[in-house]
Amino acid sequence: MRTRRRHRAIATMFAWAASLTIAFPLLWTLLTSFKTELEAVSFPPRFLSFDWTLANYRGILAEGDYLHSLVNSVIVAGGSSALVLALAIPAAWSMAFAPTHRTRGILLWMLSTKMLPPVGVFIPIFLFYRDWGLLDSRTGLVLLLAAANLPIAVWMLFSNFREVPGEILEASRMDGASLWQELVSVLAPLALPGIASTFFLVFTLAWNESFWTLNLVTTEATPLTAFIAAFSSPQGLFWARLSAASILSIVPVLLIGWLCQRQLVRGLTFGAVK
């Protein structure tokens, strides 16, 4: 009993040390966001003994349109991720439970659509979007980011679904469950952790995507990436303000991550009960 407790203490210590090291650059960014520009680059670095200030946050909230960008980011990342899941869950089901000799080829082809560097197809996409009136529109971004993240989601879900025992699905089919019921009431609960982490992943990828979301928008559809680009690298000292701007753009997705995590854990316990 005592060894187990000691084991637990040591494991906890190591885990926290490692995690804090990994998160350190971000924690440092958080700290920097409360410094003045001059203190942000001062040496030796100041840890806690500096004049804490909210001026960076006040400044960027006054200058940039944070709420507008936040709403756009939520719509674009949320919309594209929802679309991705709506397309990827059925596709991954089909690949995992009704594979054909082409399944593997299709999977690889899907991934290969992501191999062209975005900047290499920028002009064609820009031309299409201009002609279809999709420039500076959230719809345009949702569609593009959905297409960009779909292969990733199909891959993750495919590998995840294959951990689900096929017999359970077959049993439900024998019981006369429709395809819809099979997907929604049998597969989804079983694969919830995988679905949750897939959603979380494509959401974060869409949230951070900083090529299309910068180059296809001007004013109406600008997400947080554009908000940040307004505070990145102006002439002058800018690291404290940039830190504040990135903290502001991280907090919402961190909250969503936190919520997703709840979902993840619940999914896990559900899986354990089976």
């Binding site: 680059v41 910068l214 307004a230």
Partner: protein, 437 residues
């Protein structure tokens, strides 16, 4: 009942129709530097005075702004009504008829108040195509306290040799002070801006009259050996990755004894909020080798109207306010004299209040007046520009050779090899672009 609804609809429509119909929305794309961000903040005054014009801002960092605006204008995305472009773009775009002429901004704009080289920089074949918002030259910034302690004085017209001597004397890595800071980070707008300017002051030129690269000339060799040598011997560690902002951070922390860079740095360094050495910084004119051209570049950020814009009158109204004396007065009144965009207008430098507020005013004006983008070298050149060459290929060439010189500063290649590579790269890119047919 139905008539009632119809009446309501008519009332509703008539209520908003005039407002919607006559109101023009201008989409303005601008770089995120302090002067421009301040303009955005103070532009509510313009909108109040011009109820028919509504402003929408796109504020982005320089790289992203440039790539967005260039692609938009080149393939007629028509997303912007007013764009902020640099001195480099103006002649290139004007030549392609991508810009509306701005010769007629009206008497309130006072075009004759513009400082001559700045006005020349935004004109093409005698026609003005952009309205300068702010402008910059180059100067030397140095630590007066360190100079005094070492018994040195900054000459009135320093040469690079003078700076090298001072850098050697003041270099003190043990206490964290480095002799000289210069740009090293690769990029046509980063290290190449400094290096090409320095090379021009050494009598070198990028290409000769037949567009043949000149990196094999003794002048280039001297300039590069000096530049790289200064940084390798008395520069800070990491110099190869330092651009304008990195050097500004170092100098404001008291880590550089001497820094040669844009006049834009001066207000930051003089402000105790952003500089630990605000009361110990001196300003001197850019180095001069006595070879006909001092190391003075000229840059301006200027408003322009893309040829595809359908809102030209409103756009001109905005530009003549924002780039004219109107805004300067507003900025001075609302945010103080240092908030007035510098470098564009003679009247600013004649104002006693501004000269009191800005200790660097004289050197800035001298520096801008000393720049000669039309004739950057004492030898004849076929291009315009001191720290760039206003040809479309320059961004690519400058990026590539900037990488070579950055590698030399990092010590990964010798200066001789870097020059040879630069020669080959420039020749290759100009050949590809069809310069030698």
């Amino acid at each position: 009942m139905r008539a009632g609804w119809a009446l309501l609809a008519v009332i509703a429509l008539s209520g908003c129709a005039p407002d919607e119909g006559a109101r023009t929305t201008l989409t303005i794309a601008t770089v995120n530097n302090g002067d421009m961000v301040r303009l955005k903040g103070l532009a509510a005054g313009f909108e109040a005075g011009h109820p028919r014009i509504k402003l929408k801002w796109v504020v982005l960092e320089e790289n992203i702004l440039r790539q967005k605006v260039t692609t938009d204008v080149a393939i007629r995305g028509s997303q912007y009504d007013v764009v902020m472009i640099g001195a480099y773009e103006v002649p290139i775009w004007a030549k392609r008829n991508w810009l509306k002429s701005l010769d007629d901004l009206g008497p309130d704009y006072r075009a004759d108040d513009l400082i001559a080289p700045v006005r020349a920089a935004v004109s093409y074949r005698g026609v003005q195509y952009a309205a300068p918002f702010n402008a910059e030259g180059t100067m030397i910034m140095y630590r007066t306290d360190l100079f005094r302690r070492a018994g040195l004085t900054m000459p009135a017209r320093p040469s690079w040799e003078d700076l090298a001597r001072a850098a050697e004397a003041l270099n003190d890595p043990d206490s964290g002070v480095y002799g000289i800071c210069l740009r090293g980070k690769a990029g046509w707008g980063e290290n190449m801006a400094s290096i090409l300017t320095v090379a021009h002051s050494y009598g070198a030129r990028l290409v000769d009259d037949k567009w043949r690269p000149q990196f094999d000339s003794p002048e280039w060799r001297k300039a590069i050996d000096m530049y790289v040598g200064l940084l390798r011997q008395w520069g800070p560690p990491g110099a190869a990755a330092n651009g304008f902002n990195e050097n500004l951070a170092l100098f404001s922390q008291g880590r550089c004894a001497i820094w040669f860079d844009s006049t834009v740095a001066a207000p930051f360094l003089s402000d105790p909020e952003t500089s630990k050495v605000a009361d110990r910084v001196g300003f001197a004119p850019a180095p001069d080798q006595g070879l006909g051209r001092s190391a003075n570049w000229l840059w301006t950020w200027a408003f322009a109207i893309p040829a595809s814009s359908k809102k030209v009158p409103a756009a001109k109204e905005f530009i003549s306010w924002a780039a004219g004396p109107g805004y300067a007065a507003v900025a001075a009144r609302r945010a103080g004299w240092l908030a007035v965009p510098p470098g564009t207008r003679l009247s600013l430098y004649q104002s006693p209040a501004y000269r009191r507020a800005a200790p660097f005013a004289d050197v800035t004006l001298q520096s801008i007046n000393a720049a000669n983008p039309g004739k950057p070298s004492r030898l004849h050149v076929p291009y315009i520009g001191v720290q760039y060459a206003a040809i479309p290929e320059w961004q690519g060439i400058g990026t590539e050779i900037g990488q070579q010189f950055s590698a030399a500063i990092a010590g990964r290649v010798s200066t001789g090899d870097a020059l040879a590579e630069a020669q080959a790269a420039t020749r290759r890119q100009l050949t590809d672009a069809g310069y030698y047919q």
